[in-house]
Amino acid sequence: MNSYIPTSLEEALKILFEHDCYILAGGTDLMVQNHRSSGLLPTFKKDVLFTSQIEGLDYIKVINNELHIGANTKYISMIESKFVPTMLKNVFVEIASPSIRNMATLTGNINNASPAADGTVPLILLDARLVLQSKDNKREISVDDYLIGFKKTDRKPNEMVTEIIVPLTDHKYLWRKVGSRKAESISKVTFLGAYKTSNNKISDFRIALGCVSIKPVRSKQVESKYIGLTIDELKNKKDEIVNDYNQLIEPVTDQRSNKEYKRKVAINLLKSFIDSIK
């Protein structure tokens, strides 16, 4: 395997145009997945492009009420940023451990495309988008469309994610991560529910669930059924909402927990979110 260490985005895109590479930022997933015994070099099955020396991809800024996050931005920078909304910070501070939050990027979390990723749950809830660039092209795609399956994304080999764009909102929300311990735990179930009210009516209603399908589950079609109801009407439809999400989620048994447990917990979190609406 060859290592490529570009210092500019232009150089990186030229390398990706010529070579099919793993794109390694913090390394906190790829260095584990390709790890061998102590003292041996990791074994990557493809060439590796290291992003750490690329200038100009580590930034957080707000443009037209949208958060723009450069692809090389670490979790710790977002947690400490005055621009990043509390909803995102509350998710990020529960990811992995302090040291991994110092090393890892949200871009990496998205591209690893694990069904148990925490970072993609708020991005899908907030209709976040990605900017992908290749040598000759630049495109935007929603995070929801970008994640196409278990560990699969819509990235073409000559592309890289250069920016994450998150619309800023003032939803009230409930975030819960269920894991076996507070730090270092890969989630069993994650839940993020958000809503807005206006004149005692539900003016927006969004739900995203992690770990219960190949990617975070969100259905705008289901959500739209409940927008416009009064708060009491929504609460009276709790059984119907539970039924809707029971049909949408497809948890599987894995080493962390079994599918019955995940379903039960996901639905309980959904119920407590509905109860919390006021």
Binding site: S3, G26, G27, M31, P42, F44, P98, S99, I100, M103
Partner: protein, 155 residues
Amino acid sequence: MKIKFNLNKKDVIVDVDPSMRLLDVLRNVLHLTGTKEGCGEGSCGACSVLVDNMPYDSCLTPVINVMNKQVMTIEGIRESKEYETIANSFAKMGGSQCGFCTPGMIIVTYALLMKNPNPSEEEIRLALSGNICRCTGYQAIVNAVKDASKGGKHE
């Protein structure tokens, strides 16, 4: 590939594969064995080092990611006056038993106290949350960090 970084306040150049783990560069190339390998997958914190004053798991860090950065290992921390306070507090409060996690625990304690000299118990537990100890049950380590935060003059 020749990679330059600052290690324990001195510039070093290593000629290694850029994907080599920082942990292996420290232990096998530079023969600094204070940094330990526990799990090798970022779950235990035994390999903690500071990169630009922030705790990193050196087992997950390809050495290219510290090029031109400042790396501090337990050997570098040991030269500081803060180390003496922290080490004494760990000894006094029973914060070290078998000792394997201790270099990592001291690294994250040092980083915490540099940033936040008077941490609450919750802040201490959060700062240590990526470091596993299989001996002490953590309370003795938390007590040691509290003691160190009071300059070792507590109790």
